[in-house]
Every structure is written in C-alpha cells, then in structure tokens.
C-alpha cells in the first residue's frame, strides 16, 4: 500500500483560542485562524482544490474551493477564508457545482488529454478534480489559444508552446501540462527558501520560469524536490517515475546521508525503489528534503557495489571471491594469530557513523568482548569528538540541547563554523524560514557562505575570522557581554556554579579578551564583535548552531566550552528557541557515539574505569572487560607504525581518504597484517585490506539512526540485503569465530539489549518508536516519551560549569614557504568522501573538488579561473582546479574532499584537538602554484586504483 499523508489544504494554525462553526450541518471546533478548507478536512470533507496544499500558505488563485456561508454574499474561497464562530458553511450546492465545473473546463481546455500515457496517471490532482467536480465535456474545444501543442491548425508555429526542460538529472518540467497554480514557486520560496522559480508574464501568458527562464539546471535551483512534491500535475515529475511508472507500496525510513536525519517514504514497486518522498510526519524534516536524500540513492544498486565476500593474502594480490564462512574464518584466523604473537591489545576496530545503532553496538561489543580490549573508535573522532568532551564538561551531556523545530522560536541565530545550506540543507530551510520571519542572524566564518547572504537573508553581522581564532572570537563576545553588564544574572545565580562563574569572570574580564585586543589576531573589526555580542545578549532567544568549523581545530574542545559559556552567560539554555546545537556531519554520528564507540567509554558515555558499570556489562555480556582505555584512531595508526598494532576491523569508514595526513594513514595500514573492511564499495581503505565484507545499503538495513537532535528514527528494510546477510549478523559470526558467543535473531533484540545496559535508552524499543514515530533520548522512567529539550529545570551535571577558555594560537601558522591558510568543507550535492554521491547524478553539480581562492591571491601567483594548480603543505601536495571567488578573504583558501583523486588530506597535518585528538582539518599552511602535473601522490593513487582493487577472474 502507498502511504499517503492527509493533505489538509492549508497549514495548521498555532493559535490557542478555539472557534466552533458548522460545516454541512456538522459542528467542529478548531484553533482560530484555521481555514474553512482545513476545518472541513478535519471533518473528513474534501473540498475540491488545486492551488492549496498544507505545506504552503494559501494563495486563492484557482477558485475551485468555493463555498457558501449562510448570511454572507458570494462564494468565498475556503482556502483563504478563516473560520469564524458560529458561521454555517455549505461545501456543496448546485451553484457551487456549476462554478467548479466551469473552472475545471477552463483548465482542461488548455491541458493535454493524454491521461492514459501520462506519468502522473493515478497520482494527479487535476485528474482527481476533474472527476470530483464531474467534468463531462469541454465546451471551448481544444483548438484555441493554448500552451499544449507545438503547432496550431491554421496558425502554424505556436509561440506559447515550450519544450520540456529535462536539464535536471532527476526530474523533468513539462510546461504543456502546467496549470500555473504556483505551488512550485511557493514551495521554492516558503519551504526551501531558494527563490529559484517565479511566475513570469501576466494573464494567459503567465508561466513558471526557473531563474531567468534559463532552465532548472542553469538556475539557482538546488534540486531539493520541494516543487516536485508540491506540483499537482505531471508538470514536475521524477524521471524515475516517468521511466518505471507509479509505485505500488511504500515504507517509511530514514535518510542515510547527513545528521539532520530526514524521514522518507521509500515508494516501491516490488523491491525496486521508484522514488524517495520526504515524509510529512517525520520529526526532523516535516516533509522537506534535500537533493541527497530525495534523489541520490542510486548508489545502492550501482554496479560498483561488491556483493560477495573477498579475501587475499597480500594487498598486492588480486581479490578472491569466497563464501561468507571462508571469509569470516579467514578474518578470525588472522586476528587470532596476531593476538597470539603480539598480545590481546594488538588488534582493534573502527565503528561507522553511517551504520545503524544496532550495527555499531555489536561492533564495539565484539571488540570489547571478543578481542577483549578497548581499541575501538569511530569517525566521530575526526569530526565531533570535541562536542562530546566540551558539552559534558560544562552541561553534563554529550549532545545538542534542542530539537530542530526549536529554531522557529529563535530571535537571534548565531552560526559558527557551519554552512547549513550545504551541510545540513533541511535544517537550513527551517532556519531561513525563521530568518525571513524576522529573526536576526550572526555568522562567524572565514568564508562569505550562502548563509551570510542569499535571497531574502542577510546576516546582521558577518565575522570573517581567520581560521584558528574561534576561541578568541567567542571569548571576545563573552567579554563584551560581561563588561557591558548584559549578562543574565538571574539565570547564572540560579542555574550555574557560582564559584566557577566568578573564577571565569576574572579570566574573561581581562582586557586581553576584549575585541580590540584580539582584532589583529582574528582579523575581525572590534566594532562588529561588539555589535554582535550586544545583539546576541539583548535580542531575545539566542540560539547557537555550529559545525566542524568549530571542532576540527587544535582548540576544538575549548571552543565548544566557550560557546557553552556564552549560552549560560546569556541564559540561553533550557527552553525553546535557544541552546547550543552541534550540526552533526554523518547520519548516525550521534548514535555511534551513544553506542559506546569511544575507547574510554561504554554505551551511554560511562567511563570504562568505572567498576560498577563494568560489572553490569560483564554480567550482561558474559565477559571480562579491560579497565584501561583503548587506542584512539590516531593512536592506533601510530601504534601500527611502531609495530604493536597489527590488525583492524573497519566498519563502513574510509580512513585512507577521510583522515588527515593520508601518507601516515596508508603507512600504518600497510604495516598491518590483517585489515578487514566492511563496506559497500572497494573504497580507498580497501586497497590496503586483506578481507572485504560486503555491507548493506540503508535500503537493506533494519535498525535505527540517531540524528543531531538525539532523535532515534527507524531505518526500515525495504529490500533484502544484496549480499545475503545483515551487517550485524556478519559481526556476530566473526565474534563467534573468535571464540566469543554472540547471537541475535533480529535488530529489535539488539535494541532491547541496548536499553537494558544504557540508562538513557531504558525506555527505547522498536515498539516504542513504532508508536511514537521517533523518540529523542533520554527516554526512560523519568521521561517516558523522550526529551526534545535538555537541561530544562537544571543541567544534567547539576549546576552549569563555566570553563576557562584561554585562547591559544594553533602552532600551524602561515609562513614564508606556506603563506596561505587552507581550510576545508563540503558542498550540498556531495557527501563526505563521496563514495555514495559520486555514484549518482549528483556529480552533475560537483564533478571535481576545486580550490577557492581570492582574486588578489590568485593574481599574485598568475592563476586564472579554472587553471590547474598545485597545492602543497609541509606534509604533502596535490593538484586541483582553481576557482577565483570573492567569497574567500585574502590569505585563506578553501576546498572540499569529496573526490579521492584530490587527496585533500595528503595536505592536512598531524595537529589535533588537545582533548580528543580530533584532527585540525580547518587550518593548514599551504602554498599554491600554477601547475598542470598531477602530484606524486596522485600518480601513486592512479596505480593503486588499478593494482590494489583487482578482483581475480572466476
């Protein structure tokens, strides 16, 4: 069955005042401000409509939804007419019927009559309405002035006719079928916030125009799909539907790309996915999506996917396809013989933040119990580990404080080191909506990102700080607030540790933390910093959102604490519209951390040295846990180079591409005797592997993901695993083969065990999620329905703790040889190392990584736009294409790392966050020169692509 959410026609009214009215003789009570259309729908009465849909504000253009109201003249449109107390509404009468028929007649006279062969057949509101109003004939005929046919009888060339626009790789736009209801235009404005579409021309000449009538691909369109969903006709239709026909059943599941965690309906035909449509009841996205989740799922069936386990003795041998049993035995045998030779601690593993909670949980359990050491880490090490450390020091938990919806109540939004329009697009749409409604915006980022300025969005302050000076900026903001007496004294007195506060006060008041003193260091005008601080402290609800531009620094953890200080100082914690919110990179990075992926922490963030906690796990797991913390990823790599770490199990991570200082990573991998990779594709890391376990795509998984709001969403299996086994099954079998008894019948059982051992998950089960749709942890006896907002009446740690956050410049500085600072980031259409998105049409938007550079820096070096340039740091070099742009400040350049051949991490250094070893991706001193030669590393890479990925012929 296809899941279809009810369309109430107009958005829900947030009013609390209730109004009672009568519709067709039935009484109904609804919130004030509700439209008559919506009130009728709540009674189950569908008033015919075309231009209204409940994701958009009503518009009142089609005149199909007319009703009669007793005592009022005329026939008002029910979508634009609000309810009023005591009115009596009639939704059907002969007069209304005739009027509606007349409207439909006009529409149909300028619409092709090819319903039978139309892609939207069976899913077209125009068709439905023609049926609903009882349209039987069209008096005007079809030969008049129209947009339908290329040629007209007796007229010749029809100037109104426009060809289909097929430029977007995922959907088509067929103007002949357009009824100019402007739902698409409004979706692009109101839901997505991109303003790519307009209605051009007037009257009969009016038509939908993408950009300046330049076609979708050439316009500002970001391919979010909102217009496609909103379109009531076949005008905007997914190409997959055109090709394969209408889906017949659907399953609600969760996007496997970013940490927003959007809910989607996978609309299927058998086990073939026809399209992914955002789910209106999804807590994180409420019906919206971005180009990745909506369209870029083709990688799941890409021909590069490996579906058979493979083994080899040396990494230069070709791969040999084998059965599961042999592959698992080979891996277990290798690990066991390493442990015999080099001891228990000589192996370890990495969990994946792309996998489900259940899959991650079993991997860390296997390492702690079957390997019997704590050498387990996760890719959060390289992104948000400072968030965990910083927030637990100050607030007492390792997670963001709010749900996404909270942004609707924010008055001042402070974005630091994040680029939500590219990294977290669906959250960005919600945020932009709030900003268009009047909230103020402050952006601290070296680049002039889209958040700083885009249609109808303009930051009140852009603080273009030098990479590496975050802490200086946040200290300066707090300094201004405190010295100008703008702090929230009541909040601090009631909610925070006052001894720590006064200690911190002494530190932050020091003139060295003033914006004037730090101006030379940060490059940001003191006046702007003061202005931003005043705005944040006095502008109402202040909400902080941050990303990897905060964490991936030598002072990442310090900065997280600095932001927590700022939030406490202004009393912006514990209610809607405020908070400190990490925008998480990967879909399940929150979950991977929760599930005990860090070497020092068991599930639920409890330290491994805690005897009581270890006892509990020893009992449930039937094991004897080691009490010492294990190796973190960079430590594993160093130990491998030192010769004490010899084997690794890598679940769905590509450390050879995503981790800093690639040469060091590959040297470490080469030094190991047993590298096991579990992934969809032969990734960069697999070039160094001895065993490859094919993994499952999110469409084949059964389990849960936890997004950046701590929201646990179900990932439902829509098709059977292509390689025959669930990933957790493979892991359990490997543990068995290592001599440790681990067995589960299904993913729900794993979640039950997680709930048993983790107090914050005590109330979580698949059944609970089924009932609630999704649930935000903590979910336990104290909060049986979960916790959308944290620290409401008090901090988790008791009193909030102000931490002293001294600014310390990174040792990585520009110098004569490397005069520029490179910072890295990501873009909308590609995801992380790009293994998935590169295998979809998303590459139409980003076929290669480019280097963004300021015109002045480019000119100085004789670089023209589009030139190939060599990029070198003291660590290594690579070659890529230059893009000259004034988005970049002078002295700072930028690139993404979505394509392996770029090897952006050949450049990045060994520097890392002091507390967590999160690498300093965001600051590398570099030089750029014109060049048309691939770098040495790139030549090696080409060879390795060829050599190390060969699979032996049968």
């Amino acid at each position: 069955m296809i899941i279809k959410e009810t369309d109430f026609g107009t958005p829900k009214s947030e009013a609390t005042q209730m109004v009672t009215l009568e519709i067709d003789g039935h009484s109904i009570t609804v919130p004030e401000g509700t439209s008559i259309m919506r009130a009728a729908m709540e009674l189950g009465t569908k008033i015919p409509k075309l231009c209204a849909t409940d994701s958009l504000n009503s518009f009142g253009s089609c005149r199909l939804c007319l009703v009669e109201i007793e005592g009022r003249k005329g026939t008002p449109a029910s979508c634009t007419t609000p309810v009023a107390a005591g009115i009596k509404v009639k939704t059907q009468s002969d007069r209304l019927g005739n009027l509606r028929k007349g409207v439909m007649e006009l529409y149909i006279s300028d619409h092709p009559l090819d319903c039978l062969t139309c892609a939207a057949n069976g899913d077209c509101e125009l068709q439905d309405m023609a049926g609903a109003v009882g349209l039987r004939d069209v008096r005007y005929g079809y030969d008049g002035d129209n947009h339908v046919s290329a040629k007209r009888e007796g007229v010749g060339e029809n100037f109104r006719f426009k060809e289909k626009d097929e430029s977007n790789p995922y959907f088509t736009f067929d103007p002949a079928k357009c009824i100019v209801c402007s739902r698409c235009v409004r979706a692009c404005e109101e839901v997505q916030g991109t303003f790519a579409l307009t209605i051009d021309g007037r009257g009969f000449a009016s038509h939908v125009s993408a950009g300046m009538d330049e076609g979708f691909m050439a316009s500002e369109c970001v391919s979010c799909g909102a217009c496609v969903q909103a379109c009531p006709t076949a005008t905007l239709t997914e190409k997959s539907v055109i090709k394969k026909g209408q889906p017949e059943h659907s399953v609600v599941t969760t996007c496997a790309y970013c940490g927003v965690g959007c809910s989607f309906k996978a609309e299927m035909k058998g086990d073939d996915v026809i399209r992914m449509v955002p789910y209106k009841d999804g807590g994180a996205n409420e019906g919206h999506s971005c180009v990745k989740g909506r369209f870029a799922w083709g990688y799941a069936t890409h021909k590069d996917r490996v579906t058979k386990p493979m083994i080899r003795t040396r990494i230069t041998d070709p791969w040999k396809e084998v059965g599961w049993e042999e592959a698992i035995a080979h891996a277990a045998g290798g690990f066991k013989s390493i442990q015999r030779k080099y001891g228990r601690g000589s192996i370890g593993g990495i969990t994946s933040s792309r996998c489900t909670n259940e899959e991650v949980y079993v991997v860390q359990k296997m390492i702690r119990s079957a390997f019997q050491n704590n050498n387990v880490d996760t890719c959060a090490r390289v992104c948000h580990s400072p968030t965990g450390y910083g927030l637990s020091k100050t607030f007492g938990t390792s997670a963001g404080t709010q749900n996404f919806k909270s942004v609707e109540k924010a008055d001042v939004i402070l974005i630091i080191g994040a680029n939500p329009t590219d990294g977290h697009p669906v959250f960005a749409s919600r945020m932009k909506k709030r900003i268009r409604a009047g909230a103020k915006l402050i952006v601290a980022d070296p680049r002039k990102t889209d958040s700083v300025r885009s249609p109808h969005i303009e930051a009140s302050f852009h603080l273009p700080l030098r990479p590496g000076t975050n802490v200086a900026i946040v200290n300066a903001l707090s300094h201004v607030i405190l010295t100008e007496g703008l702090e929230n004294k009541a909040f601090i007195a009631e909610r925070c540790d006052t001894v720590e506060f006064s200690r911190w006060t002494n530190f932050i008041r020091d003139p060295k933390n003033s914006p004037e003193a730090l101006e030379a260091e940060t490059g940001v005008s003191a006046e702007d910093v003061r202005g931003a601080a005043r705005l944040f402290a006095t502008g109402g609800n202040g909400a902080i959102y941050y990303g990897l531009g905060v964490t991936e620094h030598s002072q990442g953890s310090t900065m997280v604490m600095g932001m927590a200080n700022l939030a406490m100082l202004t009393g912006n914690i514990g209610r809607e519209g405020v908070g400190v919110n990490p925008l998480r990179g990967q879909n399940n990075v929150q979950g991977a951390c929760d599930m005990g992926s860090f070497p020092h922490e068991l599930p639920g963030y409890r330290h491994i040295s805690d005897n009581v906690v270890r006892d509990l796990f020893n009992k449930v797991w039937n094991t004897t846990l080691d009490s010492e913390p294990g190796l973190r990823i960079p430590n594993m790599l160093s130990a491998a180079v030192d010769g004490t770490f010899k084997g690794i199990f890598i679940q769905g991570e590509d450390i050879a591409q995503s981790d800093p200082n690639t040469n060091h990573v590959t040297a470490a991998l080469e030094a190991m005797e047993m590298v096991v990779v579990q992934d969809l594709f032969l990734n960069e890391t697999a070039a160094f592997a001895h065993v490859f376990f094919p993994g499952t795509s999110f469409l084949e998984k059964d389990g849960t993901f936890t997004n950046a709001e701590r929201r646990i969403n179900r990932v439902r299996q829509v098709k059977a695993p292509m390689q025959g086994k669930h990933e957790w099954q493979v892991v359990a079998e490997l543990a068995q083969a290592m001599g440790y008894d681990m067995k589960y019948n299904n993913a729900a059982e794993i979640m039950d065990e997680i709930a048993l051992v983790t107090p914050t998950f005590a109330g979580v089960s698949f059944k609970k999620i089924e009932e609630m749709g999704s649930v935000q942890w903590p979910c336990n006896e104290k909060a049986p329905n979960g916790t959308p907002m944290m620290h409401v009446d008090g901090f988790v740690r008791g009193k909030g703790r102000f931490m002293i956050t001294e600014y310390v410049p990174t040792p990585e500085r520009a110098n004569r040889d490397f005069p520029l600072i490179l910072t890295t980031g990501r873009i909308l259409s590609q995801y992380n190392v790009g293994a998935q998105t590169r295998r979809t049409e998303n590459s139409s938007w980003h076929p290669e990584d480019v280097l963004e550079i300021h015109p002045h820096d480019a000119e100085l070096r004789g670089i023209a736009d589009g030139d190939m340039v060599s990029l070198t740091s003291r660590i290594g070099g690579t070659t890529l294409r230059a893009l000259i742009t004034e988005r970049m400040p002078q002295g700072v350049i930028y690139t993404t790392f979505h394509h392996p051949v770029t090897g952006a991490n050949v450049i990045t250094t060994e520097y890392s966050d002091w507390a967590t070893n999160c690498p300093e991706y965001k600051v590398t001193a570099v030089q750029v020169r014109p060049s048309n030669q691939p770098s040495e590393w790139q030549k090696d890479w080409e060879t390795r692509e060829e050599e190390n990925k060969r699979v032996a012929a049968e």
Binding site: R340, G343, S369, H600, T623, E628, A639, G739, W914, A915
Partner: protein, 87 residues
C-alpha cells in the same frame, strides 16, 4: 609514537589546564591522561620522561607522579582473550 608528538599532545593538555592554577591544573592533567591515554601511550610517556626528554611543560612533569603506571599492557605474546580456545 614520536617524542615530539607526545610532547606536543601533553603540553596542549597542560596549556588548557594551566588556567586552573598549579595544584588543580596538575591534578586535571593527570586525570585527563589517565582517562584518555591507552597504556601503551602512557608507557611511551614514562619512557620519554625517564630519558630526561626535554620539552615537556613543567606542569606535565609535575603531574607525572599522579599518572597511572601501566604494566606491559596486553601487548605481550600469549596475553590472550580469556574465552579463546587457543592451543
């Protein structure tokens, strides 16, 4: 692990906790290292300190006595998981 990396990491930790004064700062440094450094790293650390490796922040050196001494932890031949049915 190279000594310069170890020195840098230890000193970075010291730099943060320096703000908390000598007594509390030293304690925090020791706790941090005990909580997050795997025994192998700690034994490297003791080796470097024993060799009189210069370059450590005085606060790091002051914390040495509070840092847990690891035994040759799990990196010896024959140190195997208990459940192993090894011959």
């Amino acid at each position: 692990m190279e000594s310069k990396d170890m020195v840098r990491m230890a000193n970075q930790i010291a730099t943060f906790f320096k703000s908390y004064g000598a007594e509390e700062g030293t304690k925090e440094i020791a706790t941090h290292i005990n909580n997050f450094w795997e025994p192998r790293m700690r034994s490297h650390f003791f080796d470097f300190v024993a060799k009189g490796n210069t370059g450590f922040d005085p606060l790091v050196l002051a914390a040495v006595s509070m840092i847990r001494k690891p035994a040759d932890h799990a990196t010896q031949q024959g140190d195997l998981p208990k459940h192993g049915e090894e011959s």
